[in-house]
Amino acid sequence: MSQDCFTKIGTLPEDFPVHMTPIISIRDLEKTYSGGFQALKSVSLDINAGEVFALLGPNGAGKTTLISTICGLVQPSSGQVFIGGHDNQTSYRQARRLVGLVPQEMPTVQFEGVRDLVRLSRGLFGLAPDEKLLEEILKDLSLWDKRDAAMKELSGGMKRRVLVAKALIHQPKILFLDEPTAGVDVELRRDMWRIVSRLRDKGVTIILTTHYIEEAEEMADRVGVINNGELILVEEKAALMSKLGRKELMIELSDTLPEIPESLKGYGLELGAEGRSLRYTYDAQGERTGITGLLNALAEAGLRFDDIHTKQSSLEEIFVDLVRAN
């Protein structure tokens, strides 16, 4: 796909200050389903042009509801969404032209052919057929060999690629991927990451939801955590990890230690299996890590060690902590 195939489609308003205004702006969005269940509680969020934003949250947190409301599939109870400066309700045509959506649920179409399905998507966005672009996208997604296959002949992973092709064929500036790698094989997951990073290089803004933390860790620039319909945190990924991340210091002992000596009790150490290691947890952002004091205390207690190393807690652990705290 050439660089310009993503830039020539979709219009931002003339006076749209590209560098100052977020490409998606969500204001106090609420959704209460007809059954009375409140799935979104006053969500406000800005997505910057060109970033990869990962929306993390456990099942039922409201990720799909949020995406569906932005894309016009769910009617919000209150609040507003602006896409490229266009209100997604009053100027839905302009707003939607900028957006491609890969839904979470795989449609159960059977007999339709791959190319026909992708052509239909382009038509729906009001664009004339473009067979060259179609070929490029299908080749890019390793679907070219299957171009005339019916959906029922494809594996689950291949079907998901077709959905991606459908979402890309109108050259959107913004791509939503709702759990793109849920239940897919390792190969497709890696492929999906590759696709995301290439689209990102082309300037496409990507919002993906996932409950695999490693995915956010691998791909995202920023992470939002949603739980029970509330956006509880939005943070640069790196900042999030260092801010909330706790570090561990592992001390591999030279000799077996039956129990933690009295003089070291104040450090909250954990004795590892067989008494050959000690684990010390500290706040990486804290004023004092207490490491110097600990090492001195170890020496005073006459403990010798072969090795020490540190480990940063992963997003997974941060996430579990966060959700538990809420």
Partner: protein, 253 residues
Amino acid sequence: MNFQAMKSIYFWEMARTRRTLMQSVVSPVLSTSLYFVVFGGAIGSRISEVDGVSYGAFIVPGLIMLSLMTQSLSNASFGIYFPQFTGMIYEVLSAPVSFLEITVAYVGAAATKAMIVGLIIFLTAGFFVPIEVQHPVWMVTFFLLTAITFALFGFIIGIWADNFEKLQFLPLLIVTPLAFLGGSFYSIDMLPEAWQKVALLNPVVYLISGFRWSFYGQSDVSLGLSISMTMIFLGVCLYVVRWIFKTGYKLKP
């Protein structure tokens, strides 16, 4: 207007028919021929004429109407139900397409297919009995209005239905009986007095009567009444569709 999108949906729907060509074209030809054998031949030989028209010729407009109504209805209801069933509807609903454009495309395709079938029946019938059309413009008008109205009605059913049973239920339990009792095979004044009054409550009577009038110049009810009733039915369907779009009923939670 997003004409490209309407065109895409329309031809997508038309293409779906091609896969089921046998069902869409062969079966109406077959069933029409059977009607002629049974009603035109076996029974018709005992009923010589209705209002000066041979019985075989008399039932032609009714037969066409019957197919037109049931086909428009089932095409449209299935056409919009299917993407909801498969989940593919997300694509149409998140595209820069208005509800009006969606309706025109789906209803247009359903009506087109039904009219093709109607035309095939018309031509098939011509092999069995001599047919004359006294008022071709009115004939086309009733043909079009009926196809569009019932396609709209089907579209509503397709959105309302959330399972296959419901999708079949209304057409089978309400529309088919009304269509059969609507005077396809008999003139209303062949009924006992009391039943004639009941029959006039059936909206289909007006459609068939008007359509038959455009063929043979005679009808059970006046042309004005026929056309007004058709328009009222069309108006009601349009109103309901508008309401569906305003509220997002079933389409947008």
